[in-house]
Amino acid sequence: MEVFQNLAAGFGAAATPWNLLFCLFGCLIGTLIGVLPGIGPIATIAMLLPITFGLDPLGALIMLAGIYYGAQYGGSTTAILMRLPGESSSVVTCIDGYQMALKGRAGSALAIAAGGSFFAGCVATVLIAAFAPILASFAEQFRSPEYFALMLFGLVAAVVLANGSVIKAVGMVILGLLFGLTGTESQSGMVRYTFGVPELYDGIDFVPLAMGLFGFAEIMTNLDRKEGARVLAAKIGSLLPTREELHRSMPAVLRGTTMGSLLGILPGGGAVMSSFAAYTLEKKLSKRPQEFGHGAVEGVAGPESANNAGAQTSFIPLLTLGIPSTPVMAIMVGAMTIQGIAPGTAIITDRPDLFWGMIASMWLGNLMLVIINLPMIGIWVRLLQVPYRLMFPCILVMCCVGAYSISSSTFLVTLMAGFALLGYVFAKLGCEAAPFLLGFVLGPLMEENFRRSMVLSFGDPSIFVVRPISATILVATLGLVLLIVLPQFRKTRDVAFQE
């Protein structure tokens, strides 16, 4: 089996002492920010981008990926012990996890969450190893029309799956696309929207934008609320689940893993969506739906497995097609570009060490995370007691120095202040920044691919529907649009987000 040979080589690349260290570092940071409410993986990865300058590409990607799936583990801790989502993908875990904690089963809930996540992580790793190469070889037939159609699909999916108002999400995508067009236009060489600022000729730099919109806007909205000491709900208690809890959570873990793996691959899916969908599914299937909301163990096992599976399989579109399907993946594109790697089908053939090394590191990382999270749980709980007034100046300093170090430009720092204000206003007005970020990353790519398609077809727009693959994707996109319009679906979507 070629897959096993490749995986073995991947383990060889990932298991060097330095790469193991980067993996551990990423997992530790991920767990930390997962545990701490008020700082998410998007802001953190953006914050650490400048640090990855000096690393080799594999080490950098291993570390950044570790942060993302590590956050899925850490998020459950805060959700269960404090009824605060440490991460947006743990929102649903708050419901039943906290109730379990009140009943003195906090330890068991934590163990099931970590165990389920580990199982999901292993399955997702195998899935990526098995299917990504197939998908990538399939994608080699893709030309600009297919890429354009796929990106359109991704943007529409991001809108459908965004939390809150659909029409505002569409507005945010378009606004993001517009911001993405800033800089020199590739064909004519004309500069657009730069206002004579030379730093903008290559487009708006990704790092200050992401730090401002996500990192700073988060700090600013947090400071709008009243701070207060965080209180633990209950003692952690024994980490061992009872036989009945195990028996009930096992099928939930399986279902959650399946759900998360599937949704993660879809553009716009990812960890958050997966956890919501898994919770709804568990509640629907359960013989005891009345127990949900009062400490049903399935309500922890399902979503926690799903979010980790979704976090990992969302790497598939990025690694095979080079298309970021979620905001976190959009940041990973930024990280790859910094390292001089073009995300896309060529990664697997040109840089097999990188691709397989990253996959192997995911499995190693999951193993580390179980250890980091269960026996060391006490340390993370103590970190939770660090007051926010000491935390946010540290984040602020990291962001400022990081943004400056990218190109030693004070302009980028000022630009970041602008995006901080913009992100804060967005948050206040209920506008999601995630679709904006996707639009921003995909804007120039879409323009480029649309133009190339037109060159390919000598200006005939029917090229998008004549080619079978692009036509299929466009039909699927249309289906998604219809879904939004249908009142029935809107209702279920609203219900899903309310829960």
Partner: protein, 150 residues
């Protein structure tokens, strides 16, 4: 008198319109071309009109359908956070990394209503030392730990 029933959407819509209008104004000289042969102004034009249209729809809808109010802002945290970023940009090349970090950490801590001055001073000093260690020694960034270029 028309009553705004959904303040969040009302202002969000106006924000969309403002951005779209600005993009139209500053992009007015870009050659548009046709869909077959897109000029650099093609996408900006249609995207701008798109965002203006959505903004108008969201704003008008906010007059008809009830929705959430904008949560009140506290001025102090926002001013100090933004001030800290701007001051960093002004200080980093003139005074170097350590002074800039210490000063902005101190400014930022004023953003919290619960700040204690001694604690903030210690934090500022600690962050200045940590940033020299991390960015200059470990990551070998070309920054001066301190400088005097006024």
């Amino acid at each position: 008198m028309i009553r705004v029933k959904n303040p969040q959407d009302f202002w969000a819509g106006l924000l969309f319109i403002a951005f779209g209008a600005a993009a139209l104004w500053f992009g007015r000289d870009f050659p548009v071309g046709t869909a077959m042969k897109m000029g650099p102004g093609y996408l900006p034009l249609y995207l701008s009109w798109g965002v203006v249209g959505i903004g108008a729809f969201v704003t008008l809808r906010a007059l008809a359908i009830e929705g959430p109010a904008v949560e009140p802002s506290r001025i102090r945290p926002q001013v100090f956070i933004l001030l800290a970023i701007v001051v960093f940009g002004l200080m980093i090349e003139r005074f170097g990394l350590a002074p800039a970090v210490a000063v902005i950490a101190l400014i930022a801590s004023f953003a919290s209503y619960e700040m204690k001055i001694i604690e903030s001073l210690v934090l500022a000093a600690g962050l200045a030392a940590a940033s020299i260690l991390l960015f200059i020694y470990l990551l070998a960034q070309s920054m001066d730990p301190w400088a005097w270029n006024i």
